[in-house]
């Protein structure tokens, strides 16, 4: 009887050991990968303006940037404002109309007190509503620059990407999820053509 | 022989567990959805309180009275406007302020018409006093002793018959008020 018991005990111990070794290996490998990724961050490629950038849901082509005091609607605002305008092409590659393009690109390095941009449709010269799939549109992103800071000569735009998951982790529903920035575009800011103040 | 007895005991436990599942599963469903069921039952209006024209009816901490029921032409041949004016003399502001009040016009075919967000132009021309009165959302500012005058307007087909005005305030459900 006691020999049998000792045999099953040894078997159990052996099983624990194998499972423990597996778990320990997994923990060590995961930790090592995190440390390695933190030490060698992925380099975000710098793309020249005019090149189409595939961000998953959108294909963006940044064309030019300019500064001015008149927004694309053409009506001068009552309070004088400093505006940074970036003109780009947007192509919707998803399967439905989307108007989620507010956080497509951000100014890098971030500027203090900068409100989020307003996106205009260049075709209408009015605020953009939704971009349909397979119908590329030219848009203008307008940032109202804080009065304290001077308008930059060159602006770096960091462009984020999104992936489509057919089944997400919470409900198993399809959706688009933000991922790492996929490109950085440095554009020179052309000053306003008609020389009004600033 | 001991092995046979052990097996028989195991089989009994197996079948008993399976039978218990028939009781435990419905019990789990009931326990999990009890609160939702209670909330649904409370939302369903069941008890009617009728407020006759000219008389005040106590409901949800206030005395309600229908002060006006007007039919107006809407402009097209088959639609008419109904303007319902009513007032609430507040006794208990806490109950009245609970919000989520709803005024619905129904007919004998059980179709429901919800009030317009803003009164139509015809209402403003024919009954400007009613067009100025707030909708029943004004109950959120109830003070004790105040009488709040409200008006709601509905666009209904001219052929609708058997019209009744239902009013519910969230705090007093499942009771509801019918203006006749």
């Amino acid at each position: 009887m006691s020999a049998d018991q000792r045999l099953t005990l040894r078997r159990r111990l052996f099983a624990f050991l194998i499972a423990g070794v597996g778990a320990a290996t997994a923990a060590v490998v995961s930790f090592a990968m995190t440390v390695y990724e933190a030490a060698n961050p992925k380099v975000v490629p710098v793309v020249a303006p005019g090149q189409p950038i595939d961000t998953g849901r959108w294909i963006i082509t940044i064309h030019e940037a300019r500064s001015g005091s008149i927004p694309p609607t053409g009506t001068k605002p009552l309070v004088p404002k400093k505006l940074l305008m970036v003109e780009f092409d947007l192509n919707n590659r998803s399967a439905s109309t989307s108007n989620v393009f507010l956080r497509l690109f951000t100014i890098d390095p971030p500027v203090a007190n900068l409100p989020p941009p307003v996106l205009y449709l260049a075709r209408d010269k009015w605020i953009a509503s939704g971009v349909n799939p397979d119908m590329p549109e030219r848009m203008i992103a307008v940032w109202e620059w804080p009065s304290a800071a001077p308008l930059p000569q060159q602006v770096r735009l960091r462009i984020t990407s999104q992936i489509h998951k057919r089944r997400d982790n919470l409900y198993g529903a399809p959706g688009w999820f933000d991922r790492d920035p996929v490109a950085v575009v440095a554009v020179a800011v052309a000053p306003e053509a008609t020389g009004t103040a600033q | 022989m001991m092995a046979a007895a052990v097996q028989k005991g195991e089989r009994r436990r197996y079948w008993l567990s399976l039978a218990a599942l028939a009781i435990v599963l419905p019990l789990a469903i009931v326990v999990n959805s009890w609160e939702s069921a209670v909330a649904w039952r409370e939302r369903n209006v069941r008890t009617a309180l009728v407020a006759e024209r000219g008389a005040a009816q106590s409901y949800a901490g206030a005395q309600w009275q229908l002060t006006g029921l007007t039919r107006l032409a809407e402009g097209s041949a088959d639609a008419i406007l109904i303007v319902v004016e009513f007032e609430a003399a507040v006794d208990d502001p806490e109950l009245v302020r609970k919000g989520a009040c709803e005024v619905v016009l129904t007919d004998d075919k059980e179709r429901r018409w919800l009030p317009a967000f803003i009164p139509a132009r015809a209402v403003r021309q024919a009954r400007p006093a009613a067009a100025d009165k707030p909708r029943c959302g004004a109950l959120l500012n109830a003070e004790k002793g105040n009488t709040i005058k409200m008006a709601e307007s509905f666009t209904i087909p001219a052929s609708a018959t058997g019209l009744k005005v239902f009013l519910t305030v969230a705090a007093a459900r499942p009771a509801y008020l019918i203006f006749k």
Partner: protein, 197 residues
């Protein structure tokens, strides 16, 4: 031998069944997708809460909204599709806020917000039971997605298991695309007029 083989076959069979189940399980998006009531253009299609009939379909390269004498021409890289229709609520007042054009390749084009202030545009209309109301729907669609498209109308685009009406728009010919279309307000029963120019 046969014992091990039988075990192996049993495991392989179970794996195949599980794989088939995994591949054919509908996702959450499919389980909660709107329930479609199909119909034909020109025919009254009845969902449980509302009913809709489609009328004339206008195709144009650009639409001009004429209001207060001014007019702004709205161009598009595809084709403007303006669908006239009549909608009615069945038992309770409601508004139909979602209309989509489902192209033959499965891509959905939502109502164009550029015409959101047009007279009679569908999301702004309050439908009352017993009172059919003329409604207008406007989409921007690439030319290749016109024929064989389906019009999807629902109360809301996001409510799970919402009932939607799907009308397969046959009889749309790319020859009918006009260069200009003028949309103006009108005081009659139909609150808009559409004229090709």
């Amino acid at each position: 031998m046969t014992g091990a083989l039988r075990g192996f076959v049993a495991i392989a069979f179970a794996a195949a069944v599980l794989y088939g189940l995994q591949r054919t399980t509908p996702g959450y998006g499919d389980i909660t997708s709107p329930i479609r009531v199909t119909g034909k253009p020109g025919q009254r299609v009845e969902a449980s809460a509302f009913s809709i009939v489609t009328g004339k379909v206008h195709l144009a390269r650009s639409v001009t909204i004429r209001s207060a004498g001014r007019g702004q021409a709205l161009t598009t890289s595809g084709v403007w599709v303006l669908v006239e229709g009549t909608a009615e609520a069945r038992s309770e007042s409601l508004g139909l806020t979602s209309a989509q054009w489902l192209g033959p390749n499965g891509v959905r084009y939502a109502l164009s917000q550029r015409l959101s202030t047009a007279p009679g545009i569908l999301p702004a209309q309050r439908l009352e039971p017993g009172l059919p109301k003329p409604v207008l729907m406007a989409f921007e669609v690439p030319q290749g997605q016109l024929s064989g498209g389906t019009l999807l109308v629902a109360r809301s685009a996001w409510t799970p298991l919402e009932e939607e009406v799907g009308i397969t728009m046959t009889d749309i010919r790319p020859d009918d695309i006009r260069p200009f279309l003028v949309l103006a307000r009108s005081e009659g029963a139909v609150p808009w007029t559409l004229n090709a120019q």
